[in-house]
Symmetry: C2
Subunit: 450 residues, 2 copies
Amino acid sequence: MDTAHVSSQKKPHVVIIGGGFAGLHCARGLADADVKITLADQHNYYLFQPLLYQVATAALSPADIAAPIRNILRKQQNVSVILARVISIDVKNKLVKFQHGDLAYDYLVLATGATHSYFGRDTWEQLAPGLKTVDDALEIRRRVLLAYEAAEWEADNQARQAELTFVVVGGGPTGVEMSGALQEIAAKTIPKDFRHIDTTTARIILVEAADRLLMALPKELGEQALRDLQKMGVQVRLNCRVTEMREGEVQIGDEILPAKNVIWAAGVRGSKLAETLNVELDRQGRVLVEDDLSVPGHAEIMVIGDLSHVSNSKTGKPVPGVAPAAIQMGRYVAASICSHLAGKKQPAFEYHDKGTMATIGRNRAVAAIAGRHFSGFFAWLIWSLVHIFPLIGFRSKLSVIFAWVLSYFSLNKSARLITGQSTTQITKAMSSGNRETTMEKDPAEKNIHA
Amino acid sequence: MDTAHVSSQKKPHVVIIGGGFAGLHCARGLADADVKITLADQHNYYLFQPLLYQVATAALSPADIAAPIRNILRKQQNVSVILARVISIDVKNKLVKFQHGDLAYDYLVLATGATHSYFGRDTWEQLAPGLKTVDDALEIRRRVLLAYEAAEWEADNQARQAELTFVVVGGGPTGVEMSGALQEIAAKTIPKDFRHIDTTTARIILVEAADRLLMALPKELGEQALRDLQKMGVQVRLNCRVTEMREGEVQIGDEILPAKNVIWAAGVRGSKLAETLNVELDRQGRVLVEDDLSVPGHAEIMVIGDLSHVSNSKTGKPVPGVAPAAIQMGRYVAASICSHLAGKKQPAFEYHDKGTMATIGRNRAVAAIAGRHFSGFFAWLIWSLVHIFPLIGFRSKLSVIFAWVLSYFSLNKSARLITGQSTTQITKAMSSGNRETTMEKDPAEKNIHA
């Protein structure tokens, strides 16, 4: 890196964009460095994303898995946190452009992660929400809960079946976890809550384009996950693609499936901000970085986390877009900046794979750790421990353990609240499917009190 | 009541509208009755409203104080729950009209409660949200947290002061609790989270039109609350009225106060549904009911909870709009329906005042119980116990105790998440005050890194 631009009068200014795993661990890694840090994020919270599907399926509250970034960094005096969305990067003048003004940097760390990719079918976004932010999770929770409410009211059999059909697109960890949790809700959590529908007849369909689930994990574990999901009642469709989507129906290959609820867990692509760097991106919109995670030609800009495309320096294998990789990159870049300020250079970034895992329902999981494979209850225990310990904040740790223990024994999902929508919208959502039919006769005779 | 309309073939149909304290306790009171019950609510959750201000001030999560109505009633087989908004009541034909269709009733229990009243100034609603639903609380939480974010970014002193001015309108329990909690956030919870503003300079102003706080409690306790709030730093303005409100400023009497955050805790009025009954309402839009809580001329319709205007049959004093009154009315009407079905008649409704209380900050409260007055820490302990025990669900009880104990010792408010707003809107909200000023120069030099 070039230090010519760093004034000797002022402390070097490190601007980190994104307060996820990568950005936050980078900021923490610079705690003792003689730099001035600004961390900007468009949300005020750090989110423990691996548990986000539990918010979407009403097992946890947002505050259980998210914490204010400011609060996490409150004791680190060299960091300023700002809540703001970055518009673009002016690489030439070393400026980060916000709507309000510009911010000059000496080092820039880009950690804005990935967002959903609908493979160019942008209209699908409204029909099939993805799962990246707390608001995404609350929207999915709202839709799932409203589907059962609408089904309870619905008089027409076919329309009711469409309300009770949940299609999850994508068989990676999020898709596997979501479909397992949705199946559990239908079969175990809510059957007694309804009087007019049998929620155990709800269909959870997991669609995956490849010939197996969990491509990032060893084949054997993908097969185990398939067996577990099928045993629970999830309909898994491998080698299938969603070819079209309209309000109320999904086309899988040539088959048109009436389904009111679709959840997108398929493609991801790098955040759009990367495009403003004017450097080479891969097909998923991620930045092709050097082996020290810097942008080619700009040693002062580093890209970390899901937005970074890098291969392991030793094995040559691409570093996966998972939390441990993001954390390691954040720490590496922090050390890298410290080395640079001391006039030294670090060896290339190397990813240490500590294991990959996914959970399937209430007490099953699959895990690949240090070359060994685990499944079933033991894998689920490992999964639970691994996911609770990194939670920032004592309250979060205890609160999640507490919620899990209770939900494990009671089969209850305590956060089943429909929020964020005015009543008019609720009524509209509920009536959109079959309004004329139900208006024809007194629903009291047709369905509500049938 | 007249039984002529109750068919001997079918079970009598009791329709309860509203799943709050009153409606839910009425439904539960009918658990063993040989009736068919439908409970309709526009939300899917029962809400423990006395703790709602703790969600608005980020101490608790919505799921801690709310639970799905269906789930609460899942074991009571004679109840159907529907999520739907009622449009009107057709008293003549004994029909409840929903958007989807009609529902015939034999007994109708109206428990739709009260909503905010802006005294005819409906444009104020957008500027000064009230606190009745979970969504209201999340909106207030969002606005309060965003105000500090905007202040941290704001370069102009006056605009920053306006961001840090919180006006609470109305000195009843909600106003007293909100202003105490807001003061605690500013003075104790978040000072270390910010680098550029001193959050202890935030002004919390409580405006009350009367000459004292907590009109529903004995005078002595209103005075104690005033002293406690003032000691904490809340500016209490008695004998003051909000005369005008515009974006960014509030007029109190003749004084114009730059304030970006206003919270409405002043007037309430009965839910609009009461108007469709075509019976006499009081000035607050509540139904003037008979001493058995039925509507004059319609013994089959009963109005309970905050929507009911009734005086105590013995003392002649009006029954206050508080949770214990709503619960007692719900139970009374359930018993009343049972008596009626058995061909008997109950004595008039009588309200048993078990005490009134309000909390002021982290460890102070005022309480009037059985003619005795309490204040300080002991009153707060009573307040806590009284408010935790009625919480429905084991998880809620433990979770709230747990959150309180932690926040008591850590001064932390764990649910400080800004959700429910797209980033564009956040940026807009933040930039609306002083966008041009900050755009003139590099904010890095002006404020962010001043």
